[in-house]
């Protein structure tokens, strides 16, 4: 990890205490860095940094603990909500959130997310959907759009062979234990501000003891979409957010 602190990083540290002033490993144009910051800003604004226990995923954000300045544990791939459940049940006064990618949450960890949601665990889930497995080389994710080329769907995702892109939020929203569901994106400054509000709301739900809250963030992966960062941002608006519509799906 590069510990170089230039002026911009020092300023970042001064402004967001929950975010460490270190350079991160994410690719140019990746959304993870923005999403990390939004989470950390929300935590700072509620003054809950010293109560937070985060559960990091397996995937590109596996070393999120290098960037976050609060208690973090890793979890086995997809088991993230089960680990969060264990923490929150024995420490109900702590603020527990999971940070999960689409492979972690919507493929290998499908059972864990559905049952944590259905138990109404009072936790917050930040679900980063970029439609590919970034860390392992851009394979098809459950959320990959029809026709999208990945390293395991080189001719494009075939609905007949690979099944349909999974709208997991819409599935979770029908569960009575789930209290807040919103889909946002980080492809423009306007959407980033909306994403910030949604993430803040999701934490507030937990602080108020309301139950399970989840925010899906449509995020760019220029590297495995084979695009420039600008093209990737445009793709969210023109393709991804058409299939995965933005907005509040449920709020109790």
């Amino acid at each position: 990890m590069i510990q170089k602190k230039d002026t911009a990083l020092k300023n970042a540290e001064a402004s967001v205490k929950s975010l460490r002033a270190v350079e991160h490993h994410y690719c140019a144009g990746c959304g993870h860095g923005i999403i990390h910051r939004l989470i950390c800003e929300a935590i700072d604004e509620y003054g809950i940094r010293d109560r937070v226990i985060a559960v990091a995923p397996v995937g590109c954000a596996v070393i999120a603990y290098e960037y976050w300045n609060f208690d973090v544990t890793e979890a086995a791939h997809g088991r993230t909500p089960a680990v969060a459940t264990g923490i929150k049940r024995v420490r109900p006064n702590n603020i527990v959130f999971t940070y999960q990618g689409d492979g972690d949450l919507a493929a290998i960890g499908t059972a864990e997310i559905i049952h944590a949601a259905n138990r109404g665990e009072n936790i917050t889930v930040i679900f980063v959907n970029n439609g590919v497995y970034g860390m392992t080389g851009g394979q098809m994710a459950p959320t990959t759009l029809a026709g999208q080329k990945t390293s395991t769907t080189m001719e494009g995702r075939s609905l007949r062979r690979d099944g349909y892109p999974l709208k997991i939020l819409e599935m979770l929203a029908v569960l009575p234990g789930v209290k807040y569901v919103e889909r946002v994106a980080v492809n423009s400054s306007h959407e980033v501000l909306r994403a910030k509000r949604a993430i803040s709301k999701a934490f507030k739900m937990q602080i108020d003891g309301k139950g399970f809250s989840i925010v899906e963030v449509l995020s760019m992966c220029p590297t495995y979409w084979g695009m420039t960062p600008i093209q990737a941002s445009d793709r969210i608006k023109n393709d991804v957010a058409i299939f995965y519509p933005l907005g509040v799906i449920k709020s109790c």
Binding site: V52, Y65, T73, A75, R79, T85, R89, V90, I114, R119
Partner: protein, 354 residues
């Protein structure tokens, strides 16, 4: 300390041991023949202000245990053979992250779905690793309902002392059978500071629990640290019982419920004038090598009896190292050897001064 004499099955005794040890979190998934333990914990966690979760799978249960252990409380999960296979991923992570927990396996017949009868077919899985990577579990083998309680308390202390998962390896027989046992009305659970636990970073630097070590050499260093810990445990936490071994020509080695049956066979053999002794390992890992090596000086033959195709016998052979003959008698797939059956096998051995 007042004590209660009660009649309980092994599964319940294990649960009560956990409560006495200060267990505050239990997660489990139904599977026979350990269901009484899950039921008992649902009742007792409620009564003792602990947390009980019936999880959606064994995989989730072990990961809930991971979370609760990371948060610093005493935790337990239980299952039987197929469910323990599902937990192996989590057990590897717990071992890597040095998180204490108690895992109970009331073994049933396998492989596959097998049956719900007693078995000892999970010995290799328990003592040789089970999940991925280089790690060991402390493995305790109870042989009575009283042991189910006492060794559960011991398991929690060892888990905290060494920051690692401890496995209680029982079987369906021990789980289901009822015996009188003595329950201390309360004990003072040993306290271990947990300066690594995730509690929120109030007044301190943030803590991280992880097993991903990507920097050059970092993972090898961590492995060396784990192996150092295991080496210490091998030196100081080896437990076994020996019966009539001083003058024995034939020494039976058996653990768990089979040790009980073997003891009865030994008594029958002694009544017939046969010099038979018994070594019962209580810790399966670390294995009581030294006790067996010392016994080699006198014994002419070892007989390992297991409810398996022959698993612990490999560790006995490693300890004996060819000095004397090691014979094996096993039953599989839920078959339980009777004492007469073992006696018959002892009598058939011959050539050992019998």
């Amino acid at each position: 300390m007042s004590k209660n004499r009660v009649l309980m099955c092994g599964n319940e005794a294990c649960g009560e041991g956990a409560v006495l040890a200060g267990c505050k979190f239990y997660a489990g998934y139904p599977i026979t023949p350990q269901n009484e333990l899950t039921s008992y914990m649902s009742k007792r966690m409620n009564e003792t202000l602990g947390v009980f979760i019936q999880s959606e799978s064994e995989t989730s249960a072990i990961n809930m245990v991971f979370g609760a252990s990371a948060a610093g409380v005493r935790v337990m999960t239980s299952s039987s053979s197929p469910g323990i296979s599902l937990k192996q991923e989590g057990i590897s992570y717990l071992s890597a992250c040095e998180l204490p927990c108690v895992i109970v396996n009331m073994q049933r017949g396998g492989p596959g779905l097998g049956n719900i009868a007693p078995s000892q077919g999970d010995y290799f899985q328990s003592v040789k690793g089970g999940g991925h990577g280089d790690y060991k579990l402390i493995v305790l083998a109870p042989a009575s309902v009283q042991d189910m309680l006492d060794l559960t308390i011991t398991a929690f202390d060892l888990a905290d002392k060494y920051r690692m998962p401890v496995l209680i390896l029982g079987d369906g027989l021990l789980g289901q059978m009822m015996e009188p046992l003595t329950i201390p009305s309360e004990i003072e659970p040993k306290h271990y500071d947990k300066p690594w636990a995730l509690t929120g970073c109030k007044g301190r630097e943030p803590r991280v629990i992880k097993s991903l070590l990507l920097a050059d050499g970092a993972l090898e260093e961590h492995n060396k640290h784990l192996q150092e810990k295991f080496k210490i445990i091998k030196e100081v936490e080896v437990y076994s019982q020996s019966f009539n071994t001083k003058d024995a020509d034939i020494i039976i080695v058996a653990y768990g419920s089979v040790a009980r049956i073997a003891k009865a066979a030994m008594t029958l053999a002694r009544a017939k004038g046969l010099k038979v002794g018994l070594i019962r390992p209580i810790t399966l890992w670390p294995f009581p090598d030294k006790v067996i090596q010392e016994a080699c000086a006198r014994a002419k033959k070892f007989l390992v009896v297991e409810m398996s195709a022959g698993q612990m016998v490999e560790d006995v052979r490693l300890a004996v190292n060819g000095k004397v003959e090691v014979d094996f008698y096993g039953r599989m797939g839920g078959g339980v050897p009777g004492e007469g059956e073992i006696l018959k096998h002892i009598e058939s051995l011959g050539g050992a001064g019998v």
